[in-house]
């Protein structure tokens, strides 16, 4: 009897052992596999939630503002003086100032950035590229306040030396320096797009008797065009949102003007001015910064959509 018990017992053990030792038994803990997707999802969700939070605050406060100030006055008005009587809430002077800065910045950054990208991707020996590219990327890490003082203490005197009627604060100096600031971005992103153009396309053109310049201009740039446009639009958005340089160097005079030598105010600089001032929270004056912020948001948002459309429209598949 004990014998029999022993034998059934041991045969049961054998079966169990066999079960445990089958070829596909679980060797690793699957706990991590269960936790990780959840943890990673939470990380992603956090940033999305933050974005939603920002947009919701913006919309809420903007709505509140437009309960007190008619939307039509805001969107059609040509005078912006929300802090001084008689108050006026026309956004156009700020948009005009912002666009003036941005256009000047892009006129500086896109040609120079593109030219340096063409040099780095098509002409520069590997050694030069390996040195220049990191330096260029360091330039992108310089704090913008430093650029602001660079504008005020170096570019502005030069600009005033050339144009006698330029003010101490003027759109041109600030725009040029914003442009210098975004050159590395244009250059780096365009260069990436150009380097990604397959070697075989260049070979095909060289074999037809194209010079380096012709290959760069007629093969590489068109093939990388969507990337180049994307870099330009990103630079444009970056210039629109730039704050420190314009606060320091462009002045604080909202003005509907196309003259780059005058002092202007951008949307971002206005927001800084109000945030730092003693404007009471909850007042109409304070509400303006949300309306201005919302305008900025809508403009950048539309630009991004435009960028995607342009990039898709002109894409040359390879």
């Amino acid at each position: 009897m004990p014998n029999e018990a022993l034998s059934t017992n041991s045969s049961k053990q054998l079966v169990d052992a066999a079960k445990r030792n089958h070829a596909f038994r679980n060797e690793k803990s699957h706990l991590m596999d269960k936790i990780m997707p959840v943890a990673l999802f939470l990380c992603a969700a956090l940033s999305i939630a933050t974005t939603i939070g920002i947009v919701a605050t913006l919309i809420g406060e903007t709505y509140h503002f437009f309960e007190q100030v008619p939307f039509v006055d805001f969107i059609t008005g040509t005078k912006w003086s929300p802090l001084i009587e008689p108050k006026s809430f026309g956004i156009w002077p700020l948009i005009c100032g912002t666009l003036l800065i941005t256009v000047i910045a892009c006129l500086v950054a896109v040609p120079l950035g593109l030219a340096s990208a063409i040099y780095l991707s098509e002409y520069a020996p590997k050694k030069v590229r390996n040195i220049v590219k990191p330096i260029l990327e360091i330039l992108a890490g310089v704090p913008t306040i430093v650029y602001g003082y660079f504008a005020l203490s170096f570019i502005t005197p030069m600009v005033r030396g050339i144009f006698a009627d330029a003010g101490v604060f003027n759109a041109l100096s600030a725009g040029i320096v914003v442009g210098i600031m975004i050159i590395p971005m244009v250059c780096s992103l365009s260069e990436d797009a150009m380097t990604a153009v397959p070697r075989s396309l260049r070979d095909g053109a060289y074999a037809l008797g194209a010079t380096r310049f012709e290959v760069a201009l007629k093969i590489v740039v068109p093939a990388a065009f969507s990337g180049i446009v994307a870099s330009a639009v990103l630079a444009f958005s970056r210039a629109i949102g730039e704050t420190m340089i314009v606060t320091v160097a462009a002045g604080s005079t909202p003005k509907l003007t196309a003259n780059p030598l005058e002092s202007i105010q951008t949307m971002t600089a206005y927001i800084v001015q109000v945030s730092l001032g003693d404007t009471p929270h909850g007042s109409v004056e304070y509400g303006t910064i949300f309306a201005v912020g919302m305008t900025l948001f809508v403009i950048t948002f539309l630009l991004n959509i435009l960028a995607q459309y342009v990039a898709r429209r002109f894409r040359e598949e390879y």
């Binding site: 020996p125 095909g204 053109a205 060289y206 074999a207 037809l208 007629k218 093939a223 598949e317 390879y318």
Partner: protein
């Protein structure tokens, strides 16, 4: 140096040595390549056949660390002498690559690219060049109604014929084909081979192939390379039926490579 066939010599390669850095890729290569015929370079991978092909239109110039000794003359002109314009040389020595590499443009613009580079902008003249080049590459009938479509809408074989047409559009004397069928299916390969047969009446064709059956099928003379050296150079028929060198025989009978 050996001279073959009744056709006149067009390309004369004289004691050519080529180095990639310290690597001696071509060793004392001397060849005379006749005009208006197909010459095939065969040999195992890394034997220098593609390297030699790329010296003929100086595409090797673009690889840093390349050094050349000896000379190559085309129609009697040393193509490595200082006063040779590389772009003009490449216009005269067209090239088709292993992978079809059409530009990301329309079929029409692919063909017109070369002529435009060399200063032809007249619309009627371009139309004419596009049509004759596509006809020469036996592609016209297939694409004449779709000239504005992207070159990428074509099949691999059609793309390769487009690349041949593109090379022909700048009116070269010589056409280099660097394993031009190795990425293609058998039917497309056959079409390219037939095309090469037609083109050899008007152009001098030099083709590199890893496929010796292809060399045997289409070429007039064949060069067998091994380790950067020319082992044997002869009429294709003779080289394949009655090779003089043991190594050639071993290679063509499939004992190595």
């Amino acid at each position: 140096m050996q001279t073959l066939t009744k056709n006149q010599t067009l390309i004369e390669i004289n004691q050519l040595n080529l180095f990639y850095g310290a690597f001696h890729a071509l060793k004392n290569v001397s060849l005379r390549i006749p005009e208006k015929a197909i010459t095939a370079f065969i040999g195992p991978s890394g034997c220098g056949k593609s390297t030699l092909l790329r010296t003929l239109n100086r595409m090797n110039d673009m690889i840093p660390g390349t050094r050349i000794e000896g000379g190559i003359a085309i129609s009697g002109t040393d193509i490595y002498s200082g006063d040779v314009d590389v772009e003009t040389l490449r216009k005269k020595v067209g090239m088709v690559f292993q992978q079809p590499n059409p530009f990301p443009k329309s079929i029409y613009d692919n063909i017109a690219y070369g002529p435009r580079l060399h200063g032809i902008h007249d619309r009627k003249k371009l139309d004419e060049i596009v049509e004759t080049s596509l006809r020469s590459a036996v592609l016209w009938e297939e694409v004449k109604d779709y000239l504005k479509r992207s070159a990428f809408s074509l099949s691999g074989g059609q793309q390769q014929r487009l690349c041949i047409a593109r090379a022909l559009a700048v009116n070269p004397d010589i056409l280099l084909m660097d394993e031009a069928t190795s990425a293609l299916d058998p039917i497309s390969t056959l079409k390219i081979e037939e095309l090469a047969q037609e083109l050899k009446d008007r152009y001098t064709i030099v083709m590199v192939t890893h496929n010796m059956h292809q060399a045997a099928r289409v070429s007039n003379q064949t060069v067998f390379f091994l380790n950067g050296e020319v082992v044997e150079y002869d009429e294709t028929e003779k080289l394949f039926s009655n090779p003089t060198d043991q190594r050639t025989e071993d290679y063509i009978s499939g004992r190595f490579g």
